[in-house]
Structure formats: structure tokens, C-alpha cells
Amino acid sequence: MKRFVAIALALALAAGAASFAAPKQVRVLASVTGGKNDEENKLFEQALRKATGLEVVWERVPANYDQVLMQKLGAGERYDLVYMNQFQMYSLAEQGAIQDLGARIKRSAVYQKNVPQAELDKIALDGRYYAGFNKQEVFPLVNANKALTDKMGIDLGKLATLEDYYQMLKKAKAYMEAAGRKPYYPFFAYMTDIWDLQPWFSSAGLRRGVFVGAGGKRYAPYVDPKAKPVWEWLAKLYAEGLMDPESFTKKTGDMRNKMWQSQDILLDSDWAAWTGLYNNNARTAGTYPDKVNVVGLPGVKGPEGTYLIEQGQASLFAIPANAANPDGGFALLEFLATPEGGLLLTAGIEGYDYTREGGKIAYTEVGKAHAKDHGAPLPISSAFDMAQLGPMNPGFLESLAVGKRKDVSVAPMGFANGKLDARQYYDIMSKWMTDCIMGKLPAEAAIKGAADELRAKKIID
């Protein structure tokens, strides 16, 4: 019996020692970030393990992510790091489902060195941080097909007011219809979630969302009486056949195809990265730059002389309240904020997506197909050198530069200090705006209707 106990004790100690020596597992639930397929995802895990010493299990869910996230967390599955958007972070933080990372972030040398305080301020909830970053968020801006506008004799650099854009669209419609493409609707505005109308509301100095003003009063600038000329302008575009009616029913994918593939439109609003992707797709199809040469524009200047552009809501990683290894989760989060992490999230895996030739990155065929994007086209690390990635898609860096102009203000939409029910806000706004734009209601009545409904649903005061 004594012998048996001794052997059992020795085995238990050996097992304990082994588990102490082995790196502790870090389980991650991610959406698009990671390897593009199972094979690459394994390599992605290995690359993270090599870089951090953590045994990373990276579960990538590229489709129906919100549903999977809810089901997995609700079922009590334990993850150490979970991908989410800013609205989800607010909801989960309010429920106590994710951990307050404020103390860890303040202690983190990596975060202090790499992550600008301004970015952290944008995701604060009641002064606390509940997540870290997957990437640096960019912004949508006006995209115009210069290949077509050049042929029409339109100088994009001179477009400054809503009236300028209206005249430009009229000219474009007339030109294209005279060329036999009838009916031609040159402008597309993706109306679901009223995305992205910000460059036009900039003309009135207004931003999307709900803000908290003096005395804690919540207000929605898009339903301010000052917004009326923008609502009317959009309605005029629709009435005169300048705005594509499919703006109300089609998705962003359709909009993008219309822009670069069929050139059914020549003006929309899309992410800065898409300026480059439009051109890159066209280059592959052999239509760049003769038929497609998309450029980014800041939109319309506001009364204060500033272009108001909206930064996308942050894409984040948070540590769930029931995480088994929160230290490991945060260590991994820190790695993603380093320049090395940024390289993995852009260029991909060394030896698979790229090799080093004379210190420079040389992409493999696989790497070229993955287009320098493994979840973060623009890493959060301010120390990350984009130049090392090699030439970017044509127009991308120029669009990115628009956001750095002194007369351009890039800021997120109003989240009402994290309390906004975004789904309701989008639904109410898109419904009333659609009625106005389609000519069913005058702007004044639609604005009043939207404001009344927002108030009734306690979204604004």
C-alpha cells in the first residue's frame, strides 16, 4: 500500500511539474482576425506561440460571429480573449460580462509605448477600459471615380459645397446617359444604418449618433433643424435620379461592385482602405486606371471650416469575466499592440505569407492573395512602420492622408457615453430618412418624426 501511495504521489508531482513547465493555454474567440483558413490558422497559432511563449488556441469564426459569440458566452464557454465591436463592448461591460482592464492597461509598458491615449479615450466607459485593440480604426470618406469625372471635365478638387456635388452629379448623369447608359444613377448612399452620410452632414457641422450635452441632456445632431438642408439635398438627388434607388435595398458589396466592376455609379462613401481595393480590383480586371481610378475626398466643409469625418467604431478584444487565464489573455492583447503583432496582423506569417529578402518583405503567392490583411489592415501600434509592407494599393495612402489634414476632424459617432441603443437609433433614423429621401415626407416633417420617435424611445431627451 505504501509503495502504491509513493508511486501515486510521484506521478502527481511529475504531472504538476509538467503543467507548471508547460505554457498556460490562452483561448481566443476571433472573427476575421487570424489565418485565412484552417491550415494558416494553425500557423498563426504557432507564430503567436513563438512570439509570446503562450499556448494560443485561436478560434476563428468568420461568419455569423455575433450569434456565435452570444451562444458561446451564454453557454458558459470560457475564453481568455474575445473579439467584439464597440457597441458589444458597452453592452457586455454593463452586464459585468467582461473584465475592467483599466489597471492592467495603465501598468502596461507596451500599451503606453504603442497605443495613443486618444484612442483609449474613445473606448472608455465611465472612465474605465474594458477592452484593448485589434487594429487602428480608419474612416469612410467620399470616393469618386476620377477616370470617369476626368472624361466629363469635372475637377474633383473644386468640389466644396453640397451644390457643387449636386451640379457634378447632374453633369455625370447627363454625360453617361448621352453615352447610352440610361437610366444612370451616379451616386450611391448605403441607407441601412444610415451609413455613411457623414461627409454630407459635415456641411451643417453635424455628426451621427447621440451625444450628451451640458446638464446630461442627450441630443441627436442629425435631427437638429440645422440638418434640414442635408435631408433636402439627399431628397433632391433621389427625385432627380442622381441617387441610385438601390441605395435602400442593396448592401455595401453591391455598392462596391457598381463602383469598380460595372461603373454603374461614380460617387459613394466608403472606407479609406476601399479606395485602394477599388483600384486594386480594377487593376486585376485590367480597367485601372483608364476606366476606374478611385480617389478619396473629404466631403463637404462645415460652417467652422472643418470637414467632419467619422471614424469607424473600434474593433476590440476583451477578457470575459469567466476567463481561466486572464493574465495570458492580456499578454496576448499586449503582443497584438506591438509592431511585431502588427506585422503578423497585416503581412501574415513569415515563411508562409512572406519571406525576408535582404531585410525586405517579399510576399509569396499566398501572401499576395491575402493582401496584407490578417485582421488589421492598419495596426494599432503607433510605432508600426507601414512602409515595411511595401507598395500599398493605389489611392489607399492618399485616402489615409485625408484624415491627417489640419482641416479634417476624424471622430467616432456619438455613443451617448456608451449608453446608446444603436440598433434602435439606426432603425428609427433610416426609416424617417428613407421616407424623406423617397419624397414621401418633407424634410421638416421627417426630422420631427425622427426626433419624436427617438424621444419616445428614450434615446434622446
Binding site: Q95, M191, D427, K431
Partner: protein, 294 residues
């Protein structure tokens, strides 16, 4: 009805053992989540960790929500219209198929009508968009005739008819198949006797076919009643800013609450209302149909 006695359980234990995996499957994957969902409807909106008991607060919140009440209206209008149209049109189609002289023609029509049921709602929506889009087939034909294009998909007044039409196109063939199978089972002697008595074709349908289809009709009606409150996919794929308020059903509301907003207490309260409503409707339908009577 008395339950099985211990002796009979012992006697048929191999059969009970065979049944055990099925019972376990239903307990684990149907009844447990079902009970858990009901329990969650009385708890606070927390995804992780202990969920506080909130009594009927979630129900009060949901039942006072104008979006929920609008979803009830949408669900009833769409669900009841579907019920009537699916039943009437599938029965009519099955009767027409039965009247076709050629077996080949019968099979061809049957297959053609059934085919849409094999497609997912995404495919059906794609076809519908192709037909009713601004640049779709209907507008193209209208254009040839000089008509101004109609924006069917973004016209709030047309939202429900389009959704109902989509469902009819997809499902009528399926229910017609059920009726067709039942028609082929009718004893030919009944028709022969009717013919000898001088009954016309219409009279034969009225006096032989329809009465013989009564059991199948009961099944079809009950299936349709159970589906009245559970429409989701077609709305989800077809919704846009212009039509959303007209077609957002109860399950769309539940989806928004649970998946989009993580408000599991509200979502499960909404889902429990749907379930209770379905049980009540099914119970009423059974009673009205005298379902258990021959």
C-alpha cells in the same frame, strides 16, 4: 391511459433501451434548452455569471415595448395570410394536378411546384429581388409597355404582400405534395360509384375527394397554425430601411434583443411569449378541427 407496468417494462426492456438515445437526445437538445429559456426569461440580462431573478420584469418590459407590439401585428398579418393562402392554394394546386390526364404532366407540374421549397430563403430572396428590383424583370416588362418603374422592394405598402408572395411561391408546392399523396390514396371504387350515380367531375371532387382529404387537411392546418408566429428567415433576408417596420416579426424582435443587444432576459421573454402563443393557437386549432376525432 394507464402507464406501462413494471412487468411490461422488463419484458420490452430492449425496446426501451433502443428508445433511450432518442429520449436523451430530446431531453438534452430540446427540453433542457426549452426549460432553460423559460427560466432565463425571469432573470436579468446577463450573459456570463449569476443571473439575478427579476420576476416578471422582462415580460412587463417586452409587453410595453412598441416595437414588440408592432412585431405582434406584423406576425399576425403575415402569419395568418400565409396560413390561408398556403392552405387554399396548395389544395387547389393538388386538385388541379390530380385532374391532369397524363402521368408525366402530373409529375412535371408536381416537381416544378415543389422545387422552390428546396431552396434556402437566401436563394428565394435572390430570385425575388431579381424579379422585383428597380431593374428587375417586372420593371423591365413594365418599361417595354411604357410604365414608370415601381420600387417594389422599398415600398412600405408592398412589403407584406411581397413577403407573403415569397412564402407562397416557396411553400405551396410542398403542401400540395402532401395533398397529392393523400389524393392518390383515395379508393378508386368511390369515384367509380360516383360516376355510376352520374356525378360530374366537380361533384366527384366535392363529394369524394374533399371529404377524403379531411385528415390531411387537419394535419396541414395544424402545421400551418404552429408556424403562424415563427416566421423569421424571409423577413431577415428581405428587410431594408424602407420596409423593416412592416415586416419585422416576433422572431426578428427576439433575434435583435438576444443576438444584437445581448439582452437575453428580454429575448427569452419574447421567445416564451411566442411559444406560449403557438401552444394556445395549436390547442385552439386542435379543438376547432376536432383533431383527435376520425
Amino acid at each position: 391511459m394507464p402507464g406501462p407496468r413494471p412487468r411490461s417494462i422488463r419484458r420490452y426492456r430492449s425496446l426501451y433501451l433502443l428508445f433511450l438515445p432518442v429520449a436523451l437526445y430530446f431531453i438534452l437538445f430540446s427540453y433542457y434548452p426549452f426549460a432553460k429559456g423559460i427560466a432565463m426569461s425571469f432573470q436579468g440580462n446577463r450573459l456570463i455569471g449569476p443571473k439575478p431573478f427579476v420576476g416578471l420584469a422582462n415580460y412587463r418590459e417586452v409587453l410595453a415595448d412598441p416595437d414588440f407590439l408592432r412585431a405582434v401585428l406584423n406576425t399576425l398579418v403575415i402569419g395568418l395570410s400565409d396560413l390561408v393562402l398556403y392552405f387554399a392554394l396548395s389544395l387547389f394546386l393538388a386538385l388541379c394536378i390530380a385532374e391532369l390526364g397524363s402521368r408525366l404532366a402530373r409529375r412535371a407540374v408536381q416537381t416544378f411546384a415543389y422545387l422552390p421549397y428546396l431552396f434556402s430563403w437566401s436563394v428565394i430572396a435572390g430570385v425575388w429581388i431579381l424579379v422585383f428590383d428597380q431593374r428587375g424583370i417586372v420593371n423591365a416588362i413594365g418599361g417595354l409597355l411604357g410604365a414608370e418603374p415601381t420600387f417594389f422592394l422599398a415600398e412600405p405598402g408592398l412589403a407584406r404582400p411581397l413577403i407573403i408572395g415569397m412564402g407562397v411561391w416557396r411553400s405551396v408546392g410542398y403542401f400540395a405534395l402532401l395533398f397529392t399523396v393523400a389524393i392518390t390514396d383515395i379508393d378508386p371504387v368511390l369515384y367509380e360509384a360516383a360516376r355510376i350515380d352520374g356525378a360530374s367531375r366537380l361533384r366527384q371532387i366535392a363529394s369524394v375527394t374533399l371529404p377524403s382529404l379531411r385528415p390531411t387537411m387537419k394535419v396541414v392546418i395544424l402545421l400551418l397554425v404552429m408556424g403562424v408566429l415563427t416566421h423569421f428567415d424571409e423577413m431577415f433576408v428581405m428587410q431594408n430601411p424602407a420596409n423593416r417596420t412592416r415586416i419585422a416579426t416576433l422572431l426578428v424582435y427576439v433575434f435583435d434583443m438576444g443576438i444584437v443587444k445581448f439582452k437575453t432576459g428580454f429575448a427569452t421573454a419574447g421567445a416564451t411569449v411566442v411559444m406560449a402563443g403557438t401552444l394556445i393557437l395549436a390547442g385552439l386549432a386542435r379543438k376547432a378541427l376536432r383533431y383527435d376525432e376520425a
